[in-house]
Amino acid sequence: MIRIDRIDRLVTGWASQAPDQVAVEGGSEDMTYGELDALANRFAHLFKAAGVAPGDRVGVHVPRSPRTIAAMLGAARAGAVYVPLDPSSPPARMKVIAADCGLRHVVIAPELLANWVAASIGDEIEHFFLAADAVPPGLSGKVHAWSEVQTSSADPLAPASDNPDDLAYLLYTSGSTGTPKGVMISHRNALSFTYWAADLISLSPKDRVASVAPFHFDLSVFDVWATLSVGATLVIVDEATVLSGPRMLDRIRGKRITVWYSVPSALVLMLDHGDLAARGASTLRVVFFAGEVFAIKHLRRAMAALPQARFFNLFGPTETNVCLAHEVSSPPAEDALAIPIGRPSCGDEVAILDERGQPVADGEVGELFVDGPTVMLGYWNGGQRVPARRPYPTGDFVARQSGGADGELMYHGRRDHMVKIRGFRVELGEVEAALAGHPGIREAVAFAVGGRLAAAVLPSDAELSVLAIKRHCAGRLPPYMIPSEVRIFTELPRTSSGKIDRVRVASILADANPQPPANPEERSRAL
């Protein structure tokens, strides 16, 4: 089968075959394939008229909506590269990203434009509005009102390019250094993943796929482009609803969602606060999860609540898209420590190498290297394109279960989550998995703080004591892996994608770390 190999052409066929099929359902607006196709053309014509040339970057800084998707599609049709920006990101970060990728055109929500003005980057950029026409005061840059988009031509455009290896979008991830890095994803990179995933679950026009992840987060690539490639319907769930367990479950049930892709935390929220276990969600047939480790006890609860659904663990950093997958065909045993991250997906090939670049034996831990169609083109770095190393070193430690080349891979943590405590190598993920195994712990993260192991714990049981947590660890971990410092939180800071914000938790622990008094005098006073 010949498949469309560029994002900009995905919707056209469905717009002529099934123009009245709903492509995207938003909170206040639904958009059919016919309407989406036309609006994408309007954006593309307006972008070109505003001077957007093939290869130029177009920022998309708006909450998720049908119009947002039309703008991304329109940018692609103008031959441009869209750059989804986090609506909740502080102005200083926007400024760094805008400078890094040379943004001169941004589709923006009027309410977010104030941030750009505050960061004094509003004036150098042409802005495109998706709703209101009022121009905020203090802005001398050019602004295109929503009415301009609406009155722009809807005629089809000549294809900007035939090359599937063109850059399609940039996703800015927080590098370990703290500077955002622009991951360059080509049309081929994105669609190799979305077609693979659509085939895996036989995605069809009857499906109703939830859009839960923000567009700057790579999980959304499946939601948007897999859905539109098969003529299915994308159902946008706003951030406030995602963060509310009961409302999220109401939405899934009310909107008859069939396919769901999120970080495990969003499912845990529905289990803990949304009564998912009692009410279920009978329309849901596929649950994809990725982005963080799904604690076994929560995965078991989710699978019990959704017995009709297939569960898949998808794995891969933004740089490789999804490169491994594992179907959880039956609930893991209660005392299982982890589930596999699976086998190579999307036509990718993997290798597990030691420090000297030699393959490791089955069962031994090494770094995961990936090559294949989903591996990014490289990093965008201040206008310079830095090609990806191939095979790409993921920084993730994995081991292949015995069973030869067909054995599934198990996750052993991040290279940057490996710390040394008193000379011992400690994988923080292992400590976290042990903590999460306690029935009274909902979530936990571990860090090295000042040479000591520290853990932040979010309990599900208010009675849970530090002593109980330590006892639990002592039964499962060697002494050097038992956190010296255990802090119980009532709430943990989260990133905009819903994951625990490790950087912020670590800084809270470091700031508030009550080190033992340094000398006997202080100890005496402490008595």
Partner: protein, 92 residues
Amino acid sequence: MQERIRASIHQYIVTTWLSGDERGFDDDTDLLAAGILDSFSTLSITAYLDENFHVQLDPSEINPANLRNVNAIVRIVLAKLPANGQGAASPS
């Protein structure tokens, strides 16, 4: 004297190894099973006894039996204190 030593050691362990959370902890709590006692914390505890009570444990005395819980530590401290408490620098 005995009560003072007991309270001091109790407080030291709660502060240093339980992040100040006293719930569930008493002077019979098994420090080994609680994940508190290991080679590192043993060094820290013996240093604490030396600094605060001028009690030095012999290597042969540094064993899980003597350090199993607060009561056991208090016993070994009392047994090692110079007679009549002379020279015992009680924290004050």
